[in-house]
């Protein structure tokens, strides 16, 4: 039973990592129905920016909390800027094109950004400082759940609540929902669709960067390729939960994390990813819209 609980907690923390990245994915998909393959790369860029800022600040001798906050903030600002630029260059001109074109463009962008960082920085793994401090009150429970894991879990929950609130209760949230439903109609009733989409990309990218900094400081290392696997897993989580749904992304993350954890614990980590993708195929076959997603009926 203990073993089960430990695996479950491990799955939960892993799931919250996926969820944090999946939130941005699902937002973008919800609005323009595009698999933003470059999202994982924005996460990686965020982590790199965080590393650079943290290294600079360490030289100035700031304290750990200040470094964590500043590095996250700068990374988020930069990621938002990258998200905005990527959308404007690679996706906006293709808004009227067939569904395939933006997807290919996204794959191209992803490859481009990966290699941009590889060439500008390095292809080696870089150590990432443990920015999240070890909390004293967590000390007795450290063998069950670490401080960094707890912080990630809490941040994921907070971000999910915040996003849900923003989408439900604010002006921009309303505009987002309108755009998601029908771009043409939204435009007619005075929503600046381009602006809404840009803002969505910026929020999603900033979240990815926040995830990047937190997760990198938990794992302790980064390189240019971390975005690919994180992106694929996060996307799987988003689809599992029902893409476009904010709580769905978090739920999907948890389901995926726990599946992998139990697969490793009770079967073998050799086939961990086979289980993850197998679950995805199964869920999509029996519930094509995901766990919390609504099936969109085609109008005849």
């Amino acid at each position: 039973m203990d073993y089960f609980l430990e695996l479950f907690l491990g799955g939960l923390t892993r799931g919250s990592i996926y969820a944090l990245i999946a939130l941005g994915y699902t937002m973008v998909y919800g609005i323009i129905g595009l698999i933003n393959f470059a999202h994982g790369e924005i996460y990686m860029l965020g982590a790199f920016t965080g590393l650079i800022v943290a290294s600079l600040l360490t030289v100035f001798g700031l304290n750990q909390y200040a470094i964590l906050v500043l590095a996250s903030l700068v990374a988020m600002v930069y990621a938002a800027a990258y998200g905005y630029t990527v959308e404007k260059i690679a996706y906006r001109p293709l808004r009227q094109a067939s569904r395939l074109s933006p997807l290919i463009s996204a794959i191209g962008m992803s490859i481009f950004l990966q290699n941009y960082v590889r060439l500008a920085q390095t292809s080696d793994f870089l150590p990432f400082p443990a920015l999240i401090p070890d909390l004293a009150f967590m000390e007795p429970y450290a063998h069950i759940i670490g401080s960094a894991e707890l912080v990630i879990l809490l941040v994921t929950a907070m971000v999910m609540l915040l996003l849900t609130a923003v989408i439900r209760f604010t002006r921009i949230g309303r505009a987002m929902r309108a755009t998601a439903q029908d771009k043409g109609m939204a435009m007619l009733v005075g929503v600046d669709v381009n602006r809404v989409i840009s803002i969505t990309f910026m929020i999603g990218s900033a979240l990815a960067a926040l995830g990047g900094v937190l997760i990198a400081s938990h794992i302790g290392q980064i390189n240019f390729a971390i975005g690919f696997i994180a992106g694929i897993k996060a996307f799987t989580a988003a689809v599992l939960g029902g893409i476009g749904s904010i709580p769905g992304a978090v739920l999907g993350g948890f389901v995926l994390g726990c599946t992998e954890s139990f697969a490793t614990g009770y079967v073998s980590s050799d086939y961990e990813d086979v289980f993850a993708f197998g679950l995805l195929v199964l869920i999509l076959v029996f519930r094509p819209a995901g766990i919390l997603g609504r099936a969109a009926a085609e109008k005849v």
Binding site: I104, S105, D273, V274, L284
Partner: protein
Amino acid sequence: MTDAGKESGGMTTARAVRRSLLVSLWFMFLTLPILVIRVNPVAQEIVWRWRNLFLIGVGSFVLSLVGQFLTHRQTRRTPSLTPGRLAIFRQRCMREPQIYVPFLLCAVLTTLLFPWFFSTYQTNIMTTALMYVVLGLGLNIVVGLAGLLDLGYVAFYAVGAYSYALLNHHFGLGFWAALPIGAGLAALFGILLGFPVLRLRGDYLAIVTLGFGEIIRLILENWNEFSFGPSGIANIPRPGFFGLDLSLAGATVYLYYLMIGLVLFTIFVVNRLQNSRIGRAWIALREDELACQAMGIDKTRTKLTAFALGATWAGMVGVIFAAKTTFINPPSFTFLESAMILAIVVLGGMGSIAGVVIAALVLILLPEYLRAFAEYRMLLFGAVLVIMMIFRPQGLISSARRAYKFMPVPVAAGRNKRHGTAADH
């Protein structure tokens, strides 16, 4: 950047410069941390590379100016419906035998005599390129014709390669016996993949096929007893020539002609398929799945045929791949490979045979000849994908539907004679 041209006429140079200045400032801001600062936490050092910032600034300024200039010129010209000069030229090339016959003859001669004029190395990479031509044409059936976005195509390639390697290793099966078996097994896997994804559409299909591709690779990686795991299978024999053991150069030339044959066969088959009952059903499925069903087309069977046929080619090329490299292991079959083949189809023009052939040759040969820029190869590859999608989403050569020729049939009654507008071609 894109709306610069809309204010046609009113655009002054000063404004363009100001705009470009903004663009360049933005990109300098954007690239500041990644391109300028390099940290090395191991050695505890920070390197500042201000020169990069300067280069980015100047580069993006110039590019933005040029871009604005071009869009400006384009919008100022009155949009005309007549096709561009290039299009006319192309049409003329296609139509007039005195132009295309010598050209074609030249191309055929070059292809046939290639191994005699060029080194083994050149022949070898040309063979590689031809393999991608076939892969592209195969995926073209699934993506270009049937409109099913398959991101796990490389799985079938792996199935083909491993069929030959394993059959040869365990049972000593030769290349020619393995070729149809590999193709058949790949087709079977295509159907296997096809069943669960029948109900899925568009993006969901894409992600599930991607997952399927990964699953195949993971199984090959982990199931040592079956596939020898990551250390792969070595000493796979090259194809024999009527029992003769060929030297390296001989085998390379032989493989080259084999691939030429396979390319021709593939083009022949795909060309016949796309103008057949099945091919039309695929295209209808791509255009409108619902209407397609309502017109009496069995969606399940049509999709499965597309998956199976597409996979068949991948399986065949997989067998040849194993025979060519003589060694295979799972890292040769990653998602990036699928992306590469997909890029060939999309860049070439979905559904266009000629386009796919050209795109495969360009995408595979160019990096080989530009080995000096190897570091930037993937960077450029990514950029080219994006740029192509923005400026030429229909690909290098957009596909054209077959025109059927008829004797002019007199219109039955007089009541429908009102169209003189339809331009026949």
